[in-house]
């Protein structure tokens, strides 16, 4: 069981790490100079954005799941038991 729904927060965190790696790879090859303190704004900005996006996606998914399970005309959104979804 590997495939799952898309998680944009992980994507942003990974892209942040890749961007940092690119910045310092250029520094190592001498293409440009990256000062040592660049890591702080990039890393904390990226991880903060990732956390925010994760939270927003979680809220959206919970709201849509709630609205789907509240209408009683169709099959319930969750069939694994009444405990899983209020």
């Amino acid at each position: 069981m590997l495939l799952h729904e898309f998680r944009p927060g992980r994507m942003i965190a990974g892209l942040t790490a890749l961007a940092l790696a690119g910045l310092y790879a250029g520094d190592a090859t001498g293409a440009w100079t990256t000062p040592w303190y660049v890591v702080f704004p990039v890393l904390f900005g990226g991880l903060g954005t990732a956390g925010l996006v994760t939270w927003i996606v979680y809220r959206v998914r919970r709201r849509s799941a709630r609205s789907r399970s509240s209408d009683s005309t169709d099959a319930p959104a969750s069939t694994s038991g009444s405990q899983a979804m209020r």
Partner: protein
């Protein structure tokens, strides 16, 4: 009551099980990490003794903190199989792991800063030796008591009293689920029926009348019984499989490959930076992949942050530090042979000016630079030395200081004029500019 609870009438534990349990961090009597409680239980001593000694050892040299931090990392918690270090390496980082690492780091820092006072180290080692000998003595005493008890038991067993018939006992109780107490399951029945042999195999009869695929034997021996109740496995796997361990492994491989490929050709900082960039890229790719395939947790993100921090540290490593350790001695024979600049990447550089005759009234100037390592300068006995020494991180020793006075400090910048000792006629002036990135600068004056 279900059949999964172990019967109270199974064979009593053998006498060997009384021997001391393995060293584990205590769960009940803990103040910080439970190390002292676990040590106390292991050595049969009051944990307060360990607490006091580790506290005393922590103050002067940080040895107690180092010991406690590493014990916290390496000794598993009571009832668990993995220690914190292994959890850390497999990407499952918890607050307790971080606290243990922090404690060991602070201990190492205190130890480094106190390195120059050797007398403290001696007394600390003495206290540690006293405690460990007390602990070992206590453990031996415990083992000796157990042996003596065993001998006493053997003595009573060999008496003729043992010929008397054994005392009557109540028959063993049987615990198996009964249909009138079991909850009715969804399909209306009471579920599977347990067989009711008093001395028979444990197990549950399936539809074909078999127990675990075999025909049950009435009157058989007690068998191992049902397995000990562990954490019940969830029947539905909610979260996808973790790829954190795989990503960590690949990142380590990438770091080693990146560093080793550039080790010969690049300076140390660039080589390490290449390896860390490769590791960070692998972590980033793993996180991106895990946004739709597999799962990565807090551990991977933590390791990414650590890698990025290390990366920014390696960019601060001075570029002149090389990966090759060189020993070089410069011994200019005359004033004219003194070069204006000497350079060495990593290693030990020695500038021996002890036989140099500097004519009075003249000035000889030179710059010496060592990236990382040791720079030793021997100046002639009768010369006036104008010294400008810069040490990025390390120690600076000038003539007249004791040889074992090592005081590590960052960003040393000392400008000083060293006059020849009284009784010698002052000769010319040596203008020396010494620079070491990480390491030691040692200036000594020749004896003759």
């Amino acid at each position: 009551m279900t059949s999964s609870t172990p019967s109270q009438h199974e064979a009593p534990p053998p006498a060997e099980a009384v021997s001391a349990p393995p060293l584990r961090r205590s769960r009940g009597s803990k103040v910080v990490g439970g190390v002292c409680g676990g040590l106390g239980r292991y050595f049969d001593l009051d944990p307060v003794i360990f607490r006091v000694v580790i506290g005393v050892l922590s103050v002067p040299g940080g040895l107690g903190l180092i010991f406690y931090g590493f014990a916290w990392l390496l000794v598993p918690l009571d009832g668990e199989e993995e220690n914190e270090g292994r959890r850390l390496l497999t990407g499952r980082v918890s607050g307790s792991t971080l606290a243990a690492i922090l404690m060991a780091l602070v201990g190492c820092g205190v130890f480094l800063s106190m390195l120059h006072s050797g007398s403290m180290l001696g007394s600390a080692l003495l206290v540690a030796f006293a405690l460990s000998s007390a602990a070992i003595w206590s453990r031996h005493r415990q083992a000796g008591a157990g042996e003596a008890e065993g001998r006493a038991d053997a003595a009573t067993a060999s008496r003729p009293v043992a010929e008397a018939p054994p005392e009557t006992k109540a028959p063993p109780l049987v615990e198996f689920p009964s249909w009138w107490r079991d909850p009715i399951v969804k399909d209306g029945s009471t579920g599977k029926i347990a067989i009711g042999y008093l001395w028979g195999p444990h197990g549950i009869v399936d539809q074909d009348g078999l127990v675990d695929g075999e025909v049950p034997k009435p009157g058989g021996q007690w068998n191992a019984g049902p397995a000990a109740p562990g954490r019940p496995k969830p029947s539905i796997r909610r979260s996808p499989f973790s790829i954190g361990g795989l990503v960590y492994l690949l990142a380590m491989v990438a770091a080693v490959v990146g560093t080793s490929l550039t080790w010969e050709s690049e300076p140390l900082g660039t080589s390490l930076q290449t390896g860390l960039v490769a590791a960070l890229a692998v972590f980033g790719l793993g996180l991106v992949v895990s946004s739709f395939l597999g799962r990565t947790g807090f551990g991977t993100i933590f390791l990414t942050v650590v890698t990025a921090g290390l990366l920014s540290l390696t960019t601060a490593v001075p570029g002149q530090i090389t990966t090759e350790w060189i020993r070089e001695t410069w011994r200019p024979a005359s004033v004219a042979a003194v070069q204006p600049r000497y350079e060495l990447g990593t290693g030990v550089g020695t500038l021996d000016l002890s036989t140099l005759a500097v004519p009075a009234g003249s000035t000889v100037s030179s710059e010496i630079e060592v990236g990382a390592g040791r720079l030793a300068v021997i100046v002639p006995k009768n010369a006036v030395v104008k010294l400008h020494a810069q040490v990025g991180l390390g120690d600076l020793q000038l003539p007249g200081e004791p040889a074992n006075d090592i005081d590590i400090a960052p960003d040393r910048d000392v400008t000083r004029t060293l006059n020849p000792p009284a009784g010698t006629t002052p000769a010319g002036t040596l203008d020396l500019s010494l620079e070491v990135g990480i390491g030691q600068v040692e200036v000594t004056r020749a004896a003759s």
